[in-house]
Subunit: 280 residues, 2 copies
């Protein structure tokens, strides 16, 4: 593993809360199977549960939180379902609180969180619908927006694409741009890197943003998003990480580590040595 120098990271404040991205941080995905656990991550999660405070912050929007947790447990992780945050249930809360009636275009795997599409919709809720993104369905979402006095689009994340075993695959953000261009609608993103979503995570973990780190494999969405929100952002060299990101023109992580275990052990060890409490 090697020791990571966390002096610079810990200069501003101790770390008492850990937000972990899931895919590419806990395990690497693989189509048709559960994927492969990333070395040391099972023990790292166990240590966080014992010595600090942890929540899992994912942009997964094709499966329910229940299914995400079941998969992680099959991979060997011990965790609480209520500690896992995914965009779909957060969006469902968001709609309920604002009495929004959605027209839905999302993956069948998360439709159970929402009421059926309203004929009198006052927003469109868009997720990574994959093969549901037919011309007919996209056009129906567009027409729903065009019928609204103040057209509003709520999306589960705004990903550009994701890596599948058969190649890069276009993601929900593309269809959000399409609908915005044609309808002129407003757009709310529920998912990293939106501030609303990080706020939801901070409310859940109950640690101030300044004492929380986000650990992720996506430089822009995880690291950059967390930093803009006032957290420290840690880049792991696993998952979708790319070497050229280490010289990125706009986002510079507070720490770069080989994997989750290196980040967790280095931070908790260093704080222990200094007599800093790892817990809130």
């Amino acid at each position: 593993m090697g020791t990571v120098d966390v002096t610079k990271l810990l200069r501003t404040a101790p770390v008492r809360g850990f937000l972990l991205d899931i895919t590419g941080v806990l395990y690497n995905s693989s189509e048709g199977s559960d994927g492969v656990t990333i070395q040391g991550s099972v023990d790292a999660v166990a240590r966080l549960y014992k010595e600090s405070r942890v929540r899992f912050l994912s942009n997964e929007s094709t499966h329910t939180t229940e299914k995400v947790v079941a998969k992680l447990r099959r991979l060997g992780f011990t965790l609480e379902e209520s500690d896992v945050i995914t965009p779909a249930p957060v969006a469902a809360d968001y709609l309920r609180q604002r009495e929004l009636r959605p027209h839905l275009l999302l993956h069948p795997g998360v439709s159970s969180y929402f009421p059926t599409s309203s004929p009198d919709a006052n927003c469109v809720l868009l997720g990574d619908a994959e093969h549901e993104f037919s011309f007919h369905n996209v056009n129906e979402a567009f027409r729903a927006l065009m019928r609204m006095k103040k057209p509003l689009l709520v999306t589960l994340g705004q990903g550009k694409f994701y890596q599948r075993t058969d190649g890069p695959t276009i993601d929900v953000g593309a269809y959000a741009e399409a609908l915005k261009y044609s309808s002129g609608c407003d757009h709310v993103v529920i998912g990293k890197p939106s501030a609303e979503y990080f706020q939801y995570a901070i409310d859940a973990i109950r640690v101030p943003a300044t004492e929380t780190v986000m650990i992720g494999d996506d430089l822009i969405s995880d690291v950059g998003g967390a930093q803009r929100f006032g957290m420290r952002g840690i880049q792991v060299r696993t998952g979708k990480w790319r070497p050229e990101w280490e010289h990125h023109p706009t986002v510079s992580p507070d720490l770069i580590v080989n994997n989750l275990a290196a980040a967790v052990n280095s931070i908790l060890d260093a704080q222990q040595q200094r007599g800093v409490q790892n817990h809130v």
Copy 2:
């Protein structure tokens, strides 16, 4: 018809070339039939052929120029096929001149202009593909862009939406935005309001832009695009025209008329009275 005051329009230069949009200017479209000729437009086109110079500049990208002309003839117009400019054959020229090998995603009605998709594509050619815009096809276009060293997207227009009898319908520009967002590609538009397309029309009509007017029903694409290119832009109150456009914050037509005939007759009559030649 009433007389239209063209004093202001003619102050800068005489008009010796007329570029006419087709749909909404010559006729109003109607699904399942050829549509309805707009009053006076058949005679106006005949007068332009006799007394001045005229080309037809359309963003139609679901039918060949041949089919567009056949329909106009059925509606009563007399015109030359070589005077009608549509984006697909112009794009085919553009690709040939630059030795571009396209991956195609467009309407079957215009695929005859192009070679079949190249497995070694160095650009994606995108048109209003309608039901061909499946998730699979959009993702294949995205993957083609991702395989390119310098990803390039060429689109037939960049329309936001168009009006169909069953409702507003999302157009090619939406899918262009989607692909640009996810791939970071460059984007060339062949169609109004792109400068390349107006240049093509000016080369075809052989009248300087300063002595040419564009007559259209689309304030942004026809009128605004022509003005940015150094032409005068005339708005007709037919087709997709909307009353609120007459107080638009950024685009102000050089002339607003009830229909094509009013524009043509007012301009040609006024120039005749002043002894200005209508012809180049």
